[in-house]
């Protein structure tokens, strides 16, 4: 019934095949577009490993159906500027801000959002804003330093 659904992913136009209208954005990004930065952790919106920016705002791609994203802009780690990714990686190295690396994509996306001035009220602390990103290794204190240096 809907003929053509266009998604803007990392700056490129993608026509979403019918079969993906009722499936998760997460799976489309990973399995159709091979954007492997997008991780599935809990699949329930708790862990934030699948965070992408939709029209500039962080969302969980495990809780989004492809079919609701017509004409929206979606950014994954692959779509961030080299400059931001390198700075984030260097700061992670400097502070020990990653261990197994599974949560890193989600934190990278949140760091990009925060670096662009992301906030809900204009004055939230970044601690609170990162509550939706879980790290099982527990490098939170180091990541706090990474984010603080970045901003």
């Amino acid at each position: 019934m809907n003929t053509r659904l266009i998604l803007h992913i990392n700056g490129n136009e993608h026509s979403l095949p019918d079969a993906w209208h009722g499936r998760r954005l997460l799976d489309y990004l990973r399995h159709e577009l091979s954007l492997m930065s997008v991780k599935e952790g809990c699949g329930e919106g708790d862990c934030g490993a699948c965070t992408v920016l939709v029209d500039g705002e962080p969302m969980c791609s495990c809780l989004l159906l492809g079919g609701v994203l017509a004409n929206r802009s979606i950014v994954t780690v692959e779509g961030l500027s080299d400059d931001h990714r390198q700075r984030f990686a260097q700061l992670c190295e400097q502070h020990g801000g990653l261990q197994c690396g599974f949560c890193t994509s989600g934190f990278t996306m949140m760091s990009a959002w925060l670096a662009e001035g992301g906030s809900e009220t204009g004055q939230n602390s970044s601690d609170k804003l990162l509550a939706g990103n879980i790290c099982r290794c527990g490098v939170y204190q180091q990541l706090k330093k990474v984010i603080a240096d970045l901003l």
Partner: protein
């Protein structure tokens, strides 16, 4: 279509049939046909994944009237498509309904708040739903497609159960913004700082006389201490006509703790929840007093 689309099934999420109605009438046809209304989807997609139902979803993103978010004469209208993030980021709404914004900011995480809607939180009708006590103190009324408006207090019936008739849908909620000399606040107790459900919660709205200290009117609502979020009328009335004192606050907190109806579960015992209500009522009133000092 890539061949992998039909072979890769990383989760149990069933293939969902998605509709894009552009009018309310069209949406209702889909609902009659067995589809569920999809707004934010943060609960619904988990249901689909965990229970295999629903399989048909009608997304409201293309229905313009569902995205109404406006104020008229201190009355705010929030459409079914409005996310919690939109409420929080609206400065005028933050001034008009601080308790609701307090509550919205405690739901899930930034990511979830950008997706989940206020009306979704209402429809879930969880006893611990954060926005519900806050909406109650802001005199929320819900509007359904069958065009009658219903007090939120009457809409919430039991855990997960609302007065919404089969085939009917929720269109919007209207709520009363603060007037001069009024302030509201919501607070909850949780085991963790985020991504947790309230063990007990309290929302209060106080109206002050022109002297700035005598209470002219009060509304108090309690969460997670009964089958639904509930108004604590006697507790609110006990504050009216006098200034806030340690004694009046303690008395109010005692009444609230007495009239609530908590259960014991893995989060907390009923007795502990009553104690929490007593403490939270005092905390929320203290917070209101602080906010009053910031009023222009």
């Amino acid at each position: 279509m890539g061949s992998s689309a039909s072979t890769i099934r990383p989760t149990q999420l069933p293939d969902l049939e998605l509709f894009w109605p552009t009018h309310i009438d069209e949406l209702i046809e889909h609902i009659k046909g067995g589809a569920k209304l999809l707004a934010g989807g943060t609960d619904l997609l988990l249901q689909a994944r965990n229970q295999g139902q629903p399989q048909k979803l009608a997304w409201i993103g293309n229905i313009e009237s569902m995205h109404n978010f406006a104020e008229q004469d201190e009355q705010w209208q929030v459409g079914a498509g409005i996310s919690l993030g939109k409420l929080i980021s609206n400065a005028a709404f933050r001034r008009a309904a601080p308790a609701i914004v307090d509550a919205a900011q405690l739901v899930g995480s930034v990511q979830i708040r950008n997706q989940a809607t206020l009306l979704g939180n209402i429809c879930s009708a969880s006893p611990a739903g954060d926005t519900l006590p806050a909406l109650l103190v802001h005199e929320a009324e819900v509007e359904t497609a069958k065009s009658h408006s219903l007090l939120l207090d009457d809409f919430l019936i039991a855990p997960g159960q609302t007065a919404l008739a089969p085939g009917d849908i929720l269109l919007s909620v209207s709520l009363r913004g603060l007037r001069a000399n009024e302030i509201s606040c919501y607070y909850r107790h949780t085991e963790r700082k985020a991504l947790d459900l309230a063990v007990a919660s309290v929302a209060i709205r106080l109206s002050f006389e022109d002297d700035g200290c005598t209470i002219a009117a009060a509304r108090i609502a309690l969460g997670a201490v009964g089958p639904t979020a509930m108004l604590a009328k006697q507790a609110a009335e006990s504050l009216v006509g006098q200034p806030l004192t340690k004694k009046s606050i303690a008395n109010c907190a005692t009444i609230a703790a007495e009239i609530c109806n908590p259960i014991s579960d893995f989060r907390a015992s009923a007795d502990y929840r009553r104690l929490l209500i007593r403490v939270l009522v005092g905390d929320v009133i203290n917070q209101i007093e602080k906010r009053v000092q910031l009023l222009p």
